[in-house]
């Protein structure tokens, strides 16, 4: 229970469904800030108190579990290392994979609990298939697609059939004070939202060149390649405009030479995506090419594609090219379904 409205309502629904529920708040920060500022961050002491109050109203026991060390190793350090390697990680996905549905779930099972209930917006029904939420704007199936069959089998997502607006209304009806608490955005462990500053603090300054992909010329400099993401346009501070006067985008990051390569928007277009560490939860691991839809980043567009299993993961041939595909993000394959698009599988994009 994060202290937000979703997990509070999820807990209340789990109780109503007849489960014997215990509320758990994760202490993830080594030095929790006392108050949130705006909608940024989470895991503050105020959030912990909000979660405890919600548990009191629902009438369930409530405990704080200290997962700060695990979170730091598996999520924060991984986040920094991924950027240092020129990739763009998704820490929420990593937290689901390593903390919420691993460290927390394992501890819970050892203590005698059967499953972890969360307030994620996704559907997981009796058929065991993970589907998008009815609220497509709030759907979180993308950051849950990394979960394995074993993890999903011990997961309950009570909110998948409701929109966020319905969840808020229900919270108000249940007398939960978090009903109108603002949604949390951004990365919870970067409270001020300054990802570049956060990375600079940990990785230090590492000046290098910004190179134009077309001419091969050095068109600018940077103080750390890790601060750039494929598809980025703003904040490049280029010395020379492109010959055609059109904007340039980050095409790739090369940690070996500490180079950021930029070029025109068309050069960003990708029609083939390779990925590693696949997880198949929508059925058996495919043996033939699968026609499906893929999503390449959180809240990203969905593109029709043919997905094929390869030696080291999967390859997706996109029906139309997509811009800004970043290594380190997940590719999630969905099968369109009137009862909610089904997650077939997921893997980490390599290129």
């Amino acid at each position: 229970m994060s202290g937000g409205v979703d997990s509070a309502v999820a807990a209340a629904r789990a109780v109503e469904a007849g489960h014997d529920v215990t509320g758990v708040h994760l202490a993830l920060a080594r030095n929790p800030q006392t108050y949130r500022t705006g909608a940024r961050g989470c895991c503050t002491l105020e959030d912990s108190r909000d979660a405890r109050r919600a548990a009191d109203v629902i009438g369930i026991p409530f405990y704080v579990w200290d997962m700060a060390d695990r979170f730091h190793e598996d999520v924060v350090d991984d986040f920094v290392a991924e950027y240092a390697a020129g990739r763009t990680p998704n820490p929420c996905l990593r937290c689901n994979e390593k903390i919420k549905f691993a460290a927390v779930l394992d501890r819970a099972v050892a203590l005698g609990f059967d499953a972890v209930v969360t307030g994620h917006h996704a559907r997981l029904g009796a058929d065991g298939l993970l589907r998008r939420s009815v609220d497509l704007a709030k759907d979180q199936s993308y950051v849950l697609a990394v979960l394995t069959r074993a993890q999903l089998d011990r997961s309950i997502f009570p909110l998948g059939d409701s929109t966020k607006a319905e969840v808020r209304a229900e919270a108000a009806r249940r007398g939960l004070a978090v009903a109108d608490k603002p949604d949390s955005h951004d990365i919870c462990f970067i409270a001020d939202g300054d990802t570049r500053g956060f990375l600079a603090q940990r990785l230090g300054e590492a000046p290098g060149d910004v190179v134009d992909a077309v001419s091969g010329a050095v068109v600018g400099s940077h103080s750390g390649a890790y601060a750039y993401t494929v598809g980025q346009r703003r904040g490049l501070h280029l010395d020379r405009p492109a010959p055609d006067g059109r904007p340039r985008y980050v095409l790739s990051i090369t940690p070996k030479t500490n180079t950021v390569t930029v070029g025109p928007a068309e050069a960003l277009e990708v029609a083939e995506v390779h990925a590693t560490r696949p997880v198949w939860t929508g059925g058996e691991r495919p043996t033939a090419p699968v026609e499906c839809q893929v999503q390449l980043r959180a809240h990203g567009d969905v593109v029709p594609a043919t997905v094929e299993v390869t030696a080291d993961g999967l390859a997706a041939e996109l029906r139309r090219p997509v811009r800004g595909v970043a290594a380190g993000q997940a590719i999630v394959a969905y099968r369109p379904d009137p009862a909610g698009d089904v997650v077939l599988g997921s893997a980490t994009i390599t290129g």
């Binding site: 202490a27 929790p32 912990s48 405990y63 050892a110 203590l111």
Partner: protein, 391 residues
């Protein structure tokens, strides 16, 4: 429910509750001059006399406060300030490594904000202070010490300190000695004058009185600078409208607890010994913490090797058994107990601890319930703890 957390708070005694309700129905501010005020004043002063009589103090030495934390803060900060004002070189506070946070953090605050030096007295493996260490400390720094503060009995592991000996050492150096006796009053014999201490903290809700009312017994010749300024009630040391009903109920509870102490201690210690014996049989590898002899009658404190105390607490809570890890939380996250660490325990043993405390309503059925639930809880907590080892 099996309530095994009486050291956290214990149910109010019927007579204290009745006295509270009866008094709370009456109007009157004890500082008012009219008849209603005089009636309230009389109740407060009678209560003061009752508390003084059973605790070996003079009525004028009883300062009613808002509870134990306030009394501790008033004693530690108030005596420090007053002594330093009179003798600018007296800037050292001597305390023990096993104090409750109400003393520990007050001393730390003086060190951080007021430039106080601190001499921390160590404890042995049973959590016991050695008067000889205090003698050495005061021989070295006696002329710089503002006060010594050491608890009468430890709230976590139940060890009872040699308070009279410690107070005698302090008195020999002319240094006032404060003791936090919150866990001691009603559990072991406590006599303010006979113990030789200069100040003593007692609170209501640990002995069958209401929460939010307590007292600092402060010897007449010991000055303390107030924390709370205002109307000057309570010897000009503590301002604030007197909580007449709370004070009356507090006095009733103190009197009952002290008068019944011997009989209570014999009954509860026997039940506690049974609990300890049965826990040892159920979980043979358990470690019993604290002084085996000089300890509070209701206290049983264990380390469960290979378990985390907070996991055990969760599992026992789910079975209707209320106990405590005994240590403070930081943002709800259990910290390894500073008391066990001071006793030489390592981090794992400190985190594996659980405190069961009996009180005036405890019965054998409470112990039965604990023993029925404990083995399965220990098994599960052990499985959960084994996940913590590096992957």
């Amino acid at each position: 429910m099996a309530y095994l957390d009486h050291a956290a708070t214990t149910p109010m005694l019927d007579e204290a509750l009745e006295a509270y309700v009866a008094t709370a129905r009456e109007v009157g501010n004890a500082s008012s001059l009219h008849a209603a005020g005089r009636r309230a004043r009389r109740r407060v002063e009678e209560s003061r006399e009752r508390v003084a009589a059973v605790l070996g103090a003079r009525p004028s030495e009883v300062i009613f406060t808002g509870g134990g934390t306030e009394s501790d803060n008033l004693a530690v900060k108030g005596i420090f300030w007053a002594r330093r004002a009179a003798h600018p070189q007296r800037v050292r506070v001597v305390s023990s490594a096993v104090e409750h946070h109400a003393v520990l953090d007050a001393v730390d605050w003086l060190a951080g904000q007021e430039g106080a030096e601190v001499g921390w007295l160590p404890v042995d493996a049973a959590g016991r202070l050695d008067p000889e260490r205090l003698r050495v400390e005061l021989a070295a720094h006696g002329d710089r010490v503002a006060l010594v503060t050491a608890m009468w009995a430890n709230n976590e592991v139940g060890t009872v300190q040699p308070v009279a000996e410690l107070a005698a050492v302090a008195a020999a150096h002319g240094v006032p000695f404060h003791t936090d006796a919150i866990q001691a009053v009603g559990q072991v014999p406590v006599d303010f004058a006979a113990s030789g201490v200069a100040a003593l903290t007692v609170t209501g809700h640990k002995l069958g009185g209401p929460t939010g009312v307590g007292a600092l017994l402060l010897a007449r010749d010991v000055a303390a600078t107030p924390l709370l300024h205002g109307g000057g009630q309570e010897r000009d040391v503590r301002s604030g409208t007197l909580d007449t009903a709370g004070i009356v109920a507090f006095a009733v509870a103190v009197e009952a607890a002290v008068k019944g102490q011997q009989e209570y201690a014999a009954r509860v210690a026997a039940l506690r010994d049974e609990l300890v014996e049965r826990v040892r049989r159920a979980v043979p590898e358990v470690v019993f913490n604290g002084d085996p002899v000089d300890r509070l009658p209701g206290n049983a404190h264990f380390s469960f090797p290979g378990c985390e105390g907070d996991a055990l607490l969760l599992l026992l809570d789910a079975q209707g058994i209320a106990c405590s890890t005994g240590s403070a939380c930081s943002a709800g996250v259990a910290q390894p107990s500073h008391v066990l660490l001071a006793m030489g325990a390592d981090d794992d043993r400190a985190r594996s601890s659980l405190r069961f405390t009996l009180g005036h309503t405890s019965t054998r059925a409470d112990v039965d319930a604990l023993i029925a639930a404990l083995p399965a809880a220990v098994d599960r907590a052990r499985r959960a703890a084994s996940l913590r080892t590096p992957r």
